[in-house]
Structures are given as structure tokens and as C-alpha cells.
Amino acid sequence: MAIRRALVLPLVLVLLPALISVTRAFSADSATDRRLLVLVDDLAVRSSHSIYFRSLESRGYDLQFRLADDPKLALQRYGQYLYDGLVLFSPSAKIWWLCGPYGGVGFRGFGHDLILAADPSASDLIRDIATECGVDFDEDPASVVVDHVGYAVSETNLDHTLIASDDFIQSDVILGSEKIKAPVLFRGIGHSLNPTNTMVVKVLSASPSAYSANPKTRLSKAPSLTGSAISLVSVVQARNNARILICGSLDLFSDRFFKSGVEKFKSMKKSGNEQFAVEISKWVFHERGHLKAINVRHHKVGEVAEPPMYRIKDDLEYSVEIYEWSGTSWKPYVADDVQVQFYMMSPYILKTLSNDQKGLYSASFKVPDVYGVFQFKLEYQRLGYSTLSLKAGMATHPTRLFLQSIPVRPFRHNEYERFIPAAYPYYGGSFSTMAGFFLFSVVYLYNK
């Protein structure tokens, strides 16, 4: 907590990457009792979306409902955030400070999670927050996503703005291992992603036949967002592993959509909304896909202690333990694609770590014949998983606590071979010359 307070003080938007793992809001210790602030435009949302809220509460979250224009609202007090997560179910909110560095964006900056749901009445502010995250809602405030092919068949859905989408992302981590059986009902605005943004992932995209326009007016020009470029639901994982869900439809989380059936090509009794919303909120609140790496160790083969310095051509062993948070406990993470780099400006050694199925990853290799200051670099970025970025070195060495790199020295002057077999002729040559000179001197001087 002290560290967190120290970090709040500088009022920066972002965390130092090196400290991310230390200061993450999410931690296994407080995972069971997490306070979420739910901002709503109208307290009626509390009842209209009760199934969703109940599912959160049943997973141990402490929900606090506030009106978005509540003047006494505060996210933090005395430099401490009062909430661990934020659910913005207030599309028309005009809380200007939410956008600022102390608001929602800053909130997330300190490693807190955010669910943002918009609808056609979304205010500029909500759009700004989305833009800050790398997501652009359709600029035309009146437009909604329309799909004349993939619409949900119902008698009220005449303008085909209620669409049933089943174009999910293929990721067990984000959406759970169980396949979402039915299409998800969606009514709201679409957004596009900044293609250069590597942190945003489209979770639910519209079908190729969808487009974003105002259904009440005639289309005078081609819509700016069309086809599967339209993202309906996106998630963002920031550099500090804070997670954000951005959804263009508040109704997606509503009891009505949860309960209603869906008919698209074939009729289903119940829409996939509940499963989708619950599963993805598990991901957003770090109940899934959260990795931690601990106990980074490296030492010479046959030794246990971490040396202050390696020598070129030393054989060394590197090991790290990686665990995944399952919602209740840390489980060993098993994968065969975790790699470690022995890195100095470029990776000199890149080695896949072998694991023992219990979370312990290890590799052994020979230090290259190059001296310098190296790093053990483990960078593990997989879709849906939190980023592991370790630059490990002397972390456990007492005198150099913060050193992240380890020097590799050349041979000492007395570590070279003393006698080289190939040089024996030369040794013989020099000694025989010396002996010969000595004999010559004796003969020359005393042979008269």
C-alpha cells in the first residue's frame, strides 16, 4: 500500500513499467473483496441489469451504485483510490473529470479495470474515454449498427438495429473454455480500432454485411464503418495489465437481452448474452488470464548461489516459476512457448524454456564468447494473457538490489591455458636457442 501511495503522488498517467508487477491493483490477497463503482445515468439500470450485477456480486465483488452526476462522487481520497474497478453504465454522463488524469483514464492508469458501455446517446465524454483507449466510436452521433442479414428476428426489430452476432474472438482465455452457444444480441453503436494499436483486441465483431448509419434517415453517402471492420465489443489490455472492456451497447448487459431468445437462421431459446457478459467480465476483472512470474533464478551449473558476475563460456542454468490466477488460487501455468533471451542490445541466446508441468520453467545454456552487460529477458505476450516482461538479473543479490542486468566478464589473466600443446615447438625452439647461446658463449670465451 505504501508503494501505491507513493505512486499516486507524482500524478502521472502511467506507471513505470518496471514497477507494474509490484503495484498492480489486482492482487491475490485482496481478490475476494473487491470494490467496484458502478456509475449509472438512472438508478433504474440497477434493476434492468440486475442479473449481470448479481453475477458480479456472487463472485465476491462489492458493488457501489452512484449516479454519474452525483456531486459528492470521488474516486479517491487522500491519494488512495476508493475503488478497485469501475463500471461505466452511464452513456450520457458528462462528468468532465472522468476523462482527466485523475478520472477514469488515470484510474485505469494505476492498474484498475474498467467496463465501459455506451449506447446511441453516448456523450462526447464517453467517446473521449474510448478514444483515449484506442477505440473510435462512429463519429456520427445518430448512427447505430445496422445489419440486414445478421439481424435478430423479432417483431419489433423492423429497422434491423438489433443484431445477433456470433463472430467471437477465438480465445479460451478471454471468453472461457466453454464455447458460447448462442449469438449475442446487440443494439448500439459500433466502433473501429486504431490499426497501429497493439493493445486493443476485437472480441465481438459485426458480420460482413453490417454497417453503421442512422436508420431513420436515408443513406446519402457510403457509411464510414462497414462490415467486419466494425467492432461491437473490444477489450484493451494496457501496458500495466489494466483491462478495459468497451461495448457499444448498454443493452447487451440487460436482463431483457439475457433472457430473450434469439433467432438468426435458427431459433435459440436463450441468447448468448449472459454467458458472454459473465465470461468476459471474469477476464476483465483478472479472474482469468493473469500470469505472474516469480522466483527468477540463475546460477552456474552445479552451483546454487547467484553469482555477481558471469564469465564468458560459463555454463549456466536459468529458471522461473510462472503461475496463472484461477479466480481463487494460483495454478501452474503450462505452455511450451516461453522463451528466455540472453540479451545485450540484441539477443545472443534465445532459448525455449522447458517446464515440469508444475509451473517451473528452466533452461541451461553456455554464456556466449562476448563480454558485456547482459540481461535475462523473458517477454511473454499471448492473446488474452497478461504480459510477462522480466528483465532479470541481480534481483536477489543483496548489494545490488535493483540491478536488472548481469555483467559477463572476459577471462582473467590467469584463466587462460598456461601451456598450449600447439606451441611446444616454440617452447622447444626458445629454450634450445638459450642453451645453444650459453654453450657458444662458454666455448667462445674459454676455448683459446
Binding site: 502511467v14 476523462c99 485505469r108 483515449e132 540481461q375 555483467p407 566478464r409 589473466h413
Partner: protein, 787 residues
């Protein structure tokens, strides 16, 4: 004088008095040499100066703390991050070992001096040594009088003072002593033909190799002299003894120094000595054979050998040329090439050309650095030719070569200084000799005309000059001696006898030579003039020591109408770094400040003054000349956390980073071609005002130097460039200012961490302004919950 009554005993007494006097004069010269260099301590404080001395100081600290083996094996991971530097193998250890052992000896006597104190005073102590070595060398060449004069001149020559004031803890401080002492031992061996001195000479050369890269000057000058002697028919066995052991032992010893290692036999700088070694052996063989064979047989043998020899030589030379030509730099290192071809460095190696001490000197710098010696040197050369001996020819050769080298690099003015001192010493002492002699003769005449007893005094006065006269001709003398093969003791006696005969012969000659007696008035005036000249020299030297060369350059002072200003910004900045950053943080700056940062702030640096890796320096240069974002990426890839720039625009400190910036561009552009020098120049002019190019105004160096500069005076007037800056109001996006010193001379910036998120598209201005307006309206209505 008592000499009149008892000539023989009086001579011994005179000698004894002379020796004691000489000893005290030398002692005083040592005191002068030491104390004239203390101005820096008195005027400023006892600190290490400049850049390189800080590295030497740090190395010495390591040595005294960890011992010599750890020093030898030292791999330093705090410089040249992330490459590191093997300090034990890349440093000339002579200075460090000298100061380290001085510290150790003092401490073992329970004199608890700090390492820093020892380091500060190493240079003055060794300049006293150098003065004494000069005395020995010049005495070998021209006798005691010249020796004392030369030692006095060297004790206060400004050129040497510039490198050896207290605190200037650099290699040259020790190396000049080693250089002169090696030359002395070479001349001593040449004069005596003693193997003992030859061995000492090799050891002294070893010390020189340990101390300074300038040892190549010795290993080229001595072969040149040996060759000169051979060519002019002055070959003798003494020359062989002076030369051959030096090459063999010296090369073996030099190869023991890690930084030299195999270079002692692999690089072209050393080839001349091997070539002359071969030649001198061949010559020795020829002389030997000529002694055995009859003249006719010898002729036949010569023709045979010459034809054979030429073919072999051609073959060897062809092989050598092929080998040397196959290496990319033709076997020469860049610094040596720039000696032979002064334009080489500026053409090919910007990193060498960028150092101001590698530039050719200007004429005024000759006058500041050696002052009146420049005028005395020609006279001294004439003195050396009267008569020409092996030793005096060596001094002339030394002077000529060092004049050439000093014309190439300012830095090598230091090598010229001892030569100039020796030769000027000879000139002064010779002219004093002649002048006092003629005065004495005239006075004698006056006396004799008065008391009619002139004969004896004039004869006496002539005989007084004899010892010196005899010393003028050691070459002739010993050549005769060496022809006979005799045991040493016999030879000595023989020598003395011979000396006697020679003296008697020369006595007459010289009394005839004494026709060179000047009129009394002329000599008196000339002596006065010479004394005046000497006085000017002393005044100039004291001025140079007190004003010109004593500034430690980490503390600056300036006098203005409202008094003395002290700028202690460098130490302020380094102290800030030491106290406010993590031990392991990396600090990037231009390489000039690398040594100081590691030594004073104890932080890891990317590049430093040991410019061994051009690419790494070019990377930093590229970062400094790139726009902010690219620079951030380069620095981030090197794990840099802080960037340090030196900025003199507020107080008018001219050697700041903006003035050095073009070198960064050149060095960076040499490796990374996307950095082009013309982009930073407007019509070939380097400017930072509103006419400057966009590339210039956007580069990191400009931004870091002038960030918030306009806040100081409202206009942004740069006092060094004497213009208003071109871009006044700008913000930094990837860097943040963390510290700026009191006079803005050092500014430290921190790299901002990468943003936690990536923004979406830039919103259209319309909606942006709208939302801004909305924000403002809301801002009035609602208070910020943060407050």
C-alpha cells in the same frame, strides 16, 4: 681565490663546492617545479581536474581498494553500457601504479593521506623528477652548467605546466619524466658503453610504455638516431650496446603491458626499431669481418654479400609490404596516421578530429607554451654542432622530430617542451660561458695591467675551462679507446692518461680559440639582456601557471564588474545524480562527460572519454541529433534513464553541447547515414536562431538545451551564440526535466516511461473543440473531486 696558491687541491675543493652548490640548485629547482604547480590548489581547491584525470582517479581508487590483481582483471560494467570495458587490459597502468604505490608507501609509514590528495600531487612531484632528469640528460650532452639551466627552464616551462598542475592527474604528468629519463639513460649508455645502463634504459622504457601511448615516440626516435649514427659513420660498439639491448629487452617488456601486448611486434609503429636492429647487426658484422679480412678480400666479400643481400632484402620488403598492405589501415592506428598525414584525422576520423587537443596548434600557442625558448632554440642548435657528438646529435634529432609532431597536434607540444628546454639550456649556458669568460679575461687584463701579474691568471682562467672543453669531445675520445681491447680498469686509467694528453693538446688549441673573446662592454650588456630575457620567461611562466593553466575546468570562475563569480554547476549536477537516482540507472551524455559521471556521480554511462567504440558514440550522437521520439527509442533501447546536457547559453560558457553539436552530427552520420550534416546547416552556416533549419530546431539536443530557456529573460537570448534562439516555446513529450543547475550549465532530463495506452485516431477538430468547450462549461459547474 685560493686557487692561485694551490692549483691541484683547489681544483678538488672547487669541485666539491661546485657539487654541493649544484645539489642545492637542483633541490631549489625541484622546489620551484613543485610549487609553481600549486596555484591551482591555492586559487581553487585540491581537486582532480578536467576529464581524463577523473578516470585515472577512479582507477587508482579501485587499485588501492582491491589490489593489483583485481585491477589487472578489472572488467568495468559501469561504463560503455552495455558493452562494458576491460579496464585492466585497456589502460596504461603506469600512472595509476605510481600513485597507488606512493599512497601505499605513505600509508605504510602511517601518513594517512587520502587517495585523492596523492593523486592531486602526483603531477607536481613528477615534474620535479622530470626537471632532475633533464639535468642529467643535458649534463650528459653538454656539461653541468647546461644541465642546470635546462632543468630550471623545464621546471617552469608553460607547456609542461599545462599538463602537470596539481590536480591534473594524467598520464603525461608521469610520462614526460619517463621520456626524459629514458633518453638520459640512452645517452648515458651511448657515452659509457655500459651494459648496466643499457639494462636500466630498457627498464625505464618499460616504465614509459606503462605510462603513456607516447612511448612510440621513443621507439622511433632512438632507432632514427642509431641509423643516423651508422649513416654518418659514427658506428661504435657503444652504439650497439645502447641500442640492441633496448630493442630486445624493451620489446619483451613492452609486450608485458596488457594494453600493448602483441602490438609491440605487430603494428607499424614498432617496425622501424626492428629494421634498425637488423641493420645495426649487419653493420656490426661488417665491422667485425673487416677487422678479420684483408682489405682486398673484404672488397670481394662486400660485392658478394651486397648482391645477395639486396635480393634477400627486396624479397623481405616485398613480403612486409604485402603483409602491411593487407591490413585495412596499412598497419597504422588512426592516431599515428594522423601524425604522418595531418589531414588524415579530419578526413576520416571525426572522433579524433573532434578533440581540440588533436588539432594543429596556432603560432600564438607556441609563444604561450614555450615563450622565449622559441628564440633560444636556434642558438642552442648551433651550440650542439660545436662540436657535434653522438649525444648532441641525438638532442638535435629529438628537437627536429618533436617540432614536427607539435605542428600536427597541440597535445604533442608537450614532447617539444623538454627538447626546447634542453637546447635552450645549452644555448644559455654556452653564451653565459663565453660572456663570463670574456669578462673574466678583460678583468684579468685590467688587473694584470694594474699589478703586472697577468700571465698566471689568464692561464689559470683558460685551464678552468678545460674540464668542460674536454667534455665537449667525448666521441673522439672514446673512439680511440675502443680500438684497444683492454680490461676495464686498465682502460679507465688509460682514459685518464689520455685525457691528460688530449687536454694538453686542446689546451693550446683552445687558448687559440679564445680569440672569441668579446669586448667587455658588449659582454656586460649581453649578460644583462640575457638576464632580462630570463626574467621575462619567469614572469610569463608564473603568469601561465597562475592564470592560464590552473583552472580545474570543473569549477569555473569569471570576473565581472560586480566581483568574482564561481560556477560550480558540474559538481552540483553530479551530486544531484549521485543522491537522487538509483545506483543502477544509466545516464547518457556526450562522451566528454562520461569519465566525470562515473567518477563523481557513480552512475553507469553509455559512452566516455575512452573513445574505443566509434559505433556506440555514433549511436549517442544520432540520438542527440534525432527528433524526440526517435531519440527516446534509441535511449530506451540502451536502458538509459537520464540524459545530461551541458548548456552554456545562460552564462556564456562556450564549450557546451550546442557548440559541440556538429561533431555529434558528423560522428553520428559517419555510422548512421540518415543523419546528414547539411540538414543542420542553413547555407553552410551553423545557427540556432530563427533562421535555423527545421531539423536543427527539432533535434533533441536543441530541445533539451533550450527547454524553458525563454523563461529566464523573456527573449531567449543565448550568450554564447549571441543570438535569440529560434524556437522558444515548446513542450517535451518523451522527456521531462528533472534537474537544472544554478547557472543552467548542466541540465538533466529523465526519459518518460512509455504511455500505458495508445490513443485512437486524433479526433476531428470540430468535435474536439466542442468537447473542450463542454469541458470548460462543466468545469465551472462542478468541482474537481480530486481537490
Amino acid at each position: 681565490m685560493a686557487a692561485n696558491e694551490e692549483p691541484k687541491g683547489a681544483g678538488a675543493l672547487r669541485n666539491a663546492f661546485g657539487n654541493i652548490l649544484c645539489f642545492f640548485i637542483l633541490l631549489l629547482i625541484g622546489v620551484i617545479a613543485f610549487s609553481i604547480r600549486l596555484f591551482s590548489v591555492i586559487k581553487y581547491e585540491s581537486v582532480i581536474h578536467e576529464f581524463d584525470p577523473y578516470f585515472n582517479y577512479r582507477v587508482t581508487q579501485f587499485l588501492t581498494k582491491n589490489g593489483i590483481y583485481d585491477f589487472w582483471n578489472w572488467f568495468d560494467d559501469r561504463t560503455w553500457y552495455p558493452l562494458g570495458r576491460v579496464i585492466g587490459g585497456t589502460v596504461y597502468p603506469g600512472l595509476t601504479l605510481t600513485a597507488g604505490s606512493m599512497w601505499w608507501i605513505l600509508n605504510s609509514f602511517n601518513i594517512p593521506l587520502s587517495v585523492e590528495t596523492v593523486c592531486v600531487f602526483t603531477a607536481p612531484v613528477f615534474s620535479a623528477n622530470a626537471a632532475w632528469a633533464t639535468y642529467l640528460l643535458t649534463k650528459e650532452v653538454k656539461g653541468t652548467g647546461a644541465g642546470l639551466t635546462a632543468a630550471l627552464l623545464l621546471a617552469m616551462v608553460p607547456s609542461y605546466i599545462s599538463r602537470s598542475v596539481a590536480g591534473s592527474y594524467d598520464n603525461e604528468a608521469v610520462a614526460i619524466f619517463a621520456l626524459i629519463f629514458t633518453f638520459y639513460l640512452y645517452i648515458k649508455t651511448l657515452n659509457t658503453g655500459s651494459l648496466f645502463y643499457a639494462t636500466l634504459n630498457a627498464l625505464s622504457y618499460f616504465y614509459m610504455v606503462c605510462s603513456w601511448g607516447g612511448y612510440t615516440f621513443i621507439i622511433n626516435l632512438i632507432p632514427m638516431h642509431a641509423l643516423l649514427c651508422i649513416v654518418t659513420g659514427r658506428y661504435s660498439s657503444r652504439l650497439y650496446i645502447a641500442y640492441a639491448p633496448l630493442v630486445v629487452l624493451g620489446t619483451l617488456l613492452a609486450a608485458l603491458v596488457p594494453v600493448v601486448g602483441f602490438n609491440a611486434v605487430m603494428t607499424s609503429e614498432h617496425f622501424a626499431s626492428f629494421l634498425v636492429f637488423i641493420i645495426i647487426n649487419v653493420v656490426a658484422l661488417v665491422y667485425y669481418i673487416r677487422g678479420i679480412l684483408s682489405p682486398k678480400m673484404f672488397k670481394v666479400a662486400t660485392t658478394l654479400v651486397v648482391t645477395l643481400g639486396i635480393t634477400v632484402c627486396v624479397a623481405v620488403v616485398a613480403v612486409l609490404v604485402a603483409m602491411v598492405a593487407s591490413s585495412p589501415t596499412k598497419g597504422w592506428s588512426g592516431r599515428s596516421l594522423s601524425l604522418l598525414d595531418p589531414t588524415y584525422a579530419s578526413k576520416y576520423i571525426p572522433i579524433i578530429a573532434s578533440v581540440s587537443e588533436h588539432q594543429p596548434p596556432t603560432w600564438p600557442s607556441y609563444f604561450t607554451d614555450i615563450n622565449v625558448l622559441a628564440f633560444l632554440v636556434p642558438a642552442g642548435i648551433i651550440g650542439c654542432f660545436l662540436p657535434l657528438s653522438d649525444a648532441s646529435s641525438f638532442v638535435i634529432l629529438y628537437l627536429v622530430t618533436s617540432v614536427y609532431f607539435s605542428g600536427v597536434m597541440v597535445r604533442l607540444m608537450l614532447v617539444l617542451a623538454p627538447a626546447a628546454c634542453i637546447i635552450s639550456g645549452i644555448a644559455l649556458s654556452d653564451s653565459f660561458n663565453i660572456l663570463t669568460q670574456s669578462i673574466k679575461v678583460h678583468l684579468g687584463k685590467l688587473l694584470s695591467s694594474a699589478s703586472v701579474a697577468g700571465d698566471s691568471t689568464s692561464e689559470n682562467s683558460a685551464s678552468q675551462t678545460e674540464p668542460k672543453a674536454s667534455k665537449h669531445t667525448p666521441g673522439e675520445k672514446s673512439e680511440e679507446i675502443t680500438k684497444e681491447k683492454q680490461p676495464k680498469k686498465n682502460r679507465k686509467k688509460e682514459k685518464e692518461k689520455e685525457k691528460g694528453t688530449v687536454e694538453k693538446v686542446s689546451n693550446k688549441k683552445q687558448s687559440e680559440k679564445r680569440a672569441l673573446i668579446l669586448p667587455l662592454e658588449v659582454s656586460v650588456v649581453a649578460i644583462l639582456l640575457i638576464v632580462l630575457l630570463g626574467a621575462f620567461y619567469v614572469i610569463h611562466c608564473v603568469w601561465a601557471a597562475a592564470e592560464a593553466y590552473s583552472a580545474p575546468s570543473i569549477v569555473l570562475t569569471s570576473h565581472s564588474h560586480d566581483g568574482l563569480h564561481v560556477f560550480d554547476d558540474f559538481r552540483e549536477a553530479y551530486a544531484w545524480l549521485r543522491h537522487n537516482t538509483e545506483v543502477d540507472d544509466k545516464v547518457a551524455s556526450w562522451w566528454d562527460y562520461g569519465y566525470q559521471t562515473t567518477a563523481m556521480a557513480n552512475r553507469t554511462v553509455i559512452v566516455d572519454n575512452n573513445t574505443w567504440n566509434n559505433t556506440h558514440i555514433a549511436t549517442v550522437g544520432t540520438a542527440m541529433s534525432s527528433p524526440e521520439k526517435q531519440a527516446w527509442e534509441i535511449f530506451n533501447s540502451l536502458d538509459v534513464k537520464y540524459v545530461l546536457v551541458v548548456f552554456g547559453g545562460l552564462v556564456g560558457y562556450p564549450s557546451d553541447d550546442i557548440n559541440k553539436f556538429l561533431w555529434m552530427v558528423r560522428i553520428g552520420g559517419g555510422v548512421f547515414p540518415h543523419i546528414k550534416e547539411p540538414d543542420y546547416l542553413r547555407d553552410g552556416q551553423y545557427r540556432i536562431d530563427s533562421q535555423a533549419t527545421q531539423t536543427m530546431l527539432n533535434c533533441l539536443m536543441y530541445k533539451l538545451s533550450y527547454y524553458r530557456f525563454v523563461e529566464t529573460d523573456g527573449k531567449g537570448f543565448d550568450r554564447v551564440r549571441r543570438t535569440e534562439i529560434g524556437r522558444k516555446y515548446f513542450k517535451l513529450t518523451h522527456f521531462e526535466e528533472v534537474f537544472t543547475t544554478h547557472h543552467w550549465m548542466v541540465r538533466i532530463f529523465k526519459l518518460k516511461p512509455p504511455k500505458n495506452r495508445i490513443r485512437g485516431k486524433v479526433k476531428k477538430s470540430k468535435s474536439g473543440s466542442k468537447s473542450n468547450a463542454a469541458n470548460k462549461i462543466e468545469a465551472k459547474g462542478r468541482q474537481n473531486p480530486w481537490h
